[in-house]
Structure formats: C-alpha cells, structure tokens
C-alpha cells in the first residue's frame, strides 16, 4: 500500500468515495420519489386540453441569475461595449507603445558595437534592396556607400546647385540652406570635383579653389562645420538622418523618404554601419 502514502492519491481516493456515496444517495432519493411521491400544490387557471400546471415560485438561484443578467446587460449596453470592447488596433497601439518604451530604455546609451549590429540589421532590411547587401550600390543603380562622393556627383551639384538633390526646398534641410547653382564652371569645377571625390588629398588648384569657394559653408576641412552644411568627407549622423528624412533625388536616381519609419537611435545606427563600410580603405 505504498501508493497511499501520497497525499494527492489519498485525496483522490477520498473524492472518488464522496462522489460514489453522493451518487448513490441522489439516485436512491429519486427512486423513492418515483415510487411514493404524489403531485400536490395549487393548479394555475390555464388548462390545455385537460393538462394543467402547478403554481411554482421560480427557484432562487434562477431568479438571481435572471436579475444579474439584466444588470449586466445594462452595464454592457452603456459601458462594456462602447468603452471596454476589444479592439485589434487598440491592442496593436499598446503593443507598439510598450515596445517603444522598452526599446528606448534598453538603447538609451548604446555602445558602438550595439549601434553597428543594429545598423546592419536595419540596413539589410530597409536599404540593401537598392544599395546592395555590401552597400556598393549594385553597379551604379544606387549610391555606393563605401565611397562618399563620385566626381560626376560633385560636378552635377556644382553645376545645378543643391536643387540637383531634388528635394521640395532644393536642399536637405541644413541650416545654411540652398547651394546656388554654377559657383564654378569648366576646368575649375573639374579640379574641385577631383579634389573632393578624391578624398581631399594633395594641394594645388582644386584645394585652393575649394578653400576659396566651398569652405565658407562646407568648412575648410569639408566636414560641413558640425552640421551647418553637408559633410563632404564622410557619412556623418547628420547627413544620414537628413537623407532618410527628406529622401534624395540626385544624378543617380531618386531615393524615397524614410521619415517616421526608423527611430532616432536606428537612424544613428544606420549611420554608424554605413561609416563602417568605408573603414577598410
């Protein structure tokens, strides 16, 4: 009888015995009622072809359930359905809100590795269909993100001004505003374009012209004076954020705006990842 030492087994046995006794008792009661019971009470006035019905009070449990249902019905009609009903969109909104709060607290101070990993993930989903998995722009179909600028791009912007970028205001939203078209032309433009596209190396005509013509906005080092104008040397956080928000329409083609689709941390992460693409040079 080892199994009886277990409490749960003993409880189950007790329950089984209780059910058996109750069943026998109830069955016996009804058998007795069928054998000996007589109908009694006051008949109602209605009579259907000789078949009558006794006057019975409704059972107390039934009455309580009936009244309770009426009260619940009034609540559901006035409050439950209009104010508390389930909504798929409501659940979605709560899910997104909870996720954003968690996301923001988790990535309040991301490390460079965190940003790099996050940036790679976002890049592969959102950017790689056009810029390619390796970010090289799929043979000229989109901007090659392993280089900052091509000579033909610089020439195009010098020739047409920042209107060449095709945004509604002709610019990417920098404080210094639009770049006028035709600041340089001919051989001068060529020299500056080679200097800028070549990574600001060497001195000579291109470097001098850059200092005289372009440096007042883009800075002497071409880094855009801390976000006052586009950085021409690398994809800094500001230019990535501006291009994602405004989209771009340059000499290669049109990039749609990704405004509102990425959080500020994700935009920063994309910038970190894009910079990492050109680090091997």
């Amino acid at each position: 009888m080892n199994w009886l030492s277990d409490n749960v087994n003993r409880l189950a046995l007790l329950g089984a015995a209780a059910i058996l006794i109750l069943t026998i008792g109830v069955v016996a009661k009804y058998f007795k009622q069928i054998k000996e019971g007589k109908s009694e009470g006051v008949l109602k006035e209605e009579n259907w072809d000789g078949i009558g019905e006794y006057k019975n009070n409704s059972p107390i449990g039934w009455s309580l359930a009936f009244i309770g249902t009426i009260i619940w019905g009034v609540w559901y009609w006035l409050v439950g359905y209009p104010l508390n009903a389930y909504s798929q969109i409501g659940e979605y909104n709560e899910e997104v809100k909870a996720y954003q709060a968690k996301f923001e607290s988790k990535w309040a101070n991301p490390s460079k590795e965190d940003l790099l990993g996050m940036g790679e993930g976002v890049f592969l989903v959102q950017c790689s269909p056009c810029h390619g998995i390796d970010g090289t722009g799929i043979e000229g179909k989109a901007q090659d993100l392993t280089h900052r600028l091509l000579k033909k791009e610089v020439l195009d912007v010098i020739h047409r001004g920042s209107a060449a970028l095709g945004n509604p205001n002709g610019q990417l939203g920098y404080p210094l505003g639009m770049m006028p078209p035709g600041l340089l032309s001919g051989a001068d433009a060529e020299a500056v374009a080679s200097y800028v596209a070549g990574g600001f190396k060497g001195s000579g005509k291109g470097a001098d012209l850059f200092q005289n013509t372009c440096a007042s906005c883009h800075g002497p080092d071409g880094r855009g004076m801390n976000g006052m104008a586009p950085n021409l040397r690398e994809y800094d956080d500001t230019i990535v954020q501006h291009v994602l928000d405004h989209g771009k329409h340059g000499i290669i083609g049109r990039m749609p705006s990704f405004k509102g689709r990425l959080t500020p941390v994700q935009e920063k992460a994309v910038a970190v990842y894009i910079r990492s693409l050109s680090e091997g040079e």
């Binding site: 269909p129 799929i138 689709r261």
Partner: protein, 227 residues
Amino acid sequence: MFSWLEKNPFFFAVGVFVVIAFAGLIEIVPDFAQQSRPVVGAKPYSLLELAGRQVYIKDSCNACHSQLIRPFKSETDRYGMYSLNGEYAYDRPFLWGSKRTGPDLHRVGNYRTSDWHANHMWEPTSVVPGSIMPAYKHMFKNVADLETAYAEALTVKKVFNVPYDKDLNGDGKVDVPLGSFEQAKQRALQYALKVAEETKRQDLVDMVKQGKVPEIVALIAYLNRLK
C-alpha cells in the same frame, strides 16, 4: 398575447430570427457601412494605373504577394502603416492575396522606385540576391491594354459612381480625370513617358513615344501608386 404567434409557426420563426439576429445587426451593419467608405484622400486609379493593375492580375502577382498589412509591429516596421478597409474602396476586386511567398506590396510605392522595379522585373536576382521570383521579361515587350482599362474605368464610373472627373479634395481641380478615350489615352501616354524615363531604359521610352505603353510601365505606375 402570444397565443396568436403560437398558432402560426412561420411568423413565430420569423420573430425568433429577428430577436436573435438583432444584436448582431446593430453591432455589425453600421460599423461595416462606415468602414467600407473610402478613406479621406483615397482616389480612383488613373487609366495607366488601371492598365497596370490588370497586368498585375493577369500575371498573378497576387498569388505570391499580398496587399494587406496587418496591425502587428513586425509588419508595420517592415511595410509601413497597417491597412485600412477604406483604402480598398476603389479596388474591384481587392487583391489582398492569401499567401506571402514574396513580401507585401500594399505600400511598395513608398520605398521602391521606378528604376528599381524595372531592374527587378527584368532580372530579380540582380538586385535581390537569392530571390526566387521569376523574371518577367515579356512585360518589357507586351503592350498594355488601355482600351480594356478605359472600359473598366468608364463602367465603374457609370455603374458604381466611382468619382472620376470630380473634385474630391475641394481645391477646385478635377483630381482623377477620365474624359473621352482619346483624352484619357493622351494623359496615360504622358504619364507613361515620365515613368519610362524614370526606369532609365531607352527601349521603354522609345515604345511609349511610338504610342505603345509596355506592360512593365503600366505595372510600375500601378506599383508606385500603392502607398
């Protein structure tokens, strides 16, 4: 009071049906009627877009691509805002699809461009390595059927009162003009030329200049319109 009903089972059954269906009717019918109205800003498809939609149906794009973004964070992160009923008000039939072998396309116009679509439809693996989508090179040769598209537009305009040739947003201008077939075709050709130039393929531009709209151009116009 109810003895009459008890003697007439048919009317009793009708009464029972009304009582049981009542709650359902007052909860479902008004909501359904309101949700199926076009959302603010919804516009009917122009002739070229409608021709592209027919190409989409003809080549069974909806067998692999859905057009319905569900309200889940994973979907809205990738595809954009979840879909609303009223956005499909001018879709006859709607192209929700039931299988996503490829990605959802309901807002593809927000994040892809004409030249990308042209590259992709010509040779999918050239832009998406590992893609299992077949190439659709015949679309670059076949000519889109503007006549049938016009017939469809005119039919829904007359039969379902779809608001072509009407000012929808109250700025005093007709939003989606249709007019006669000649007018509509001229407008579609101008639109097609713009799209063809965006694809940067000279053969498509040449075809449009000869007055023939390649299927791919109509399809891209339709896809760009999905926002």
